[in-house]
Amino acid sequence: MIFSLLIYASNNFTQTEQTALRFTRSALRQGHSVHRVFFYGESASSASSLRVTMRDETDVTEQWLTLAAAEQLDMVVCIAAAVRRGVIDKQEAKRHKKDTANLLAGFTLSGLGQLADAIIHSDRLVTFGN
C-alpha cells in the first residue's frame, strides 16, 4: 500500500513526530511504500538547522534525515508554514531579504500542492496532529 503522512504537531510540545517516524519505519518494514512526508503547521520548525537538541534527548529530526536518506523519502515542508516560523532556504532568504538560510539539507520547501499530490497518489493519507 502507498502511504503519505501529514505531520502537523511540533516536536517541542508533543511526541507526535516521533510516533510518525515509528509509523513510517513500521510501514516500510512491512513492505509498504511512503510517497511523501509532508510537514505542515508547527512541525515546519523541525526543518531548521539552528535547532539544538539537549544531550539527553532524542534528535527526532536527525532520525528522519537518516531514514529519508536510506529509504529515499520525499520530505516536504509547507513553504508558508516554514517562512512564518523562520525556516527558509536560499531562495526564500533572497526573496525576503534575509542574510542567511537555515533549511536542513534533506528537506524541501514547497506548497500545499505537494499535499494535494500526495492525496491523489497515495492509498492512505495519515495525519499526525495534536
Binding site: Y8, L112, G113, A116, T127
Partner: protein, 119 residues
Amino acid sequence: MHYNTLLIFRNGPFENNKNRDCLDIALACSAFDIPISLLFIGDAVLQLTRDLESQIIAQKNIANTLRALEMYDIDKIYVSAADLSRFNLDESSLIVSCNILEQADIALLIRRQDKVINL
C-alpha cells in the same frame, strides 16, 4: 480514482491557526480537482457565524474565503446539528449554505470518504 477528501474543522475561530490551515488545504486540493467536502463540528460551527469582528483583536478573518468557496467548486459544506443547537444557532445564522447533519449522518459522511484530514 479514489480521493474524495473530507476536511474536518473542529476548533473555535481565533483559537489557533488550525481552521485557516485546514481551509488552505481545501483551496490547494481544489486546484488539483480533488473532490472536497468540509465538515464543521464542535466549536468550529462558530467559525461559520455572521459578524465575527476579527479586527478588534487584530486577527485575520477567514469568513471572506469561506464565502468564496463556491468559486473554487467547494460546495459540500456540512455542519453538526447537535453542535449548532448547543450554541442556539440555526441555518439563518451561517454565512454559507450548509447541509446540517445529525450524528449518525456525520458517521456516514466520514465513512464515504477516501481521505479524511482532521487537524
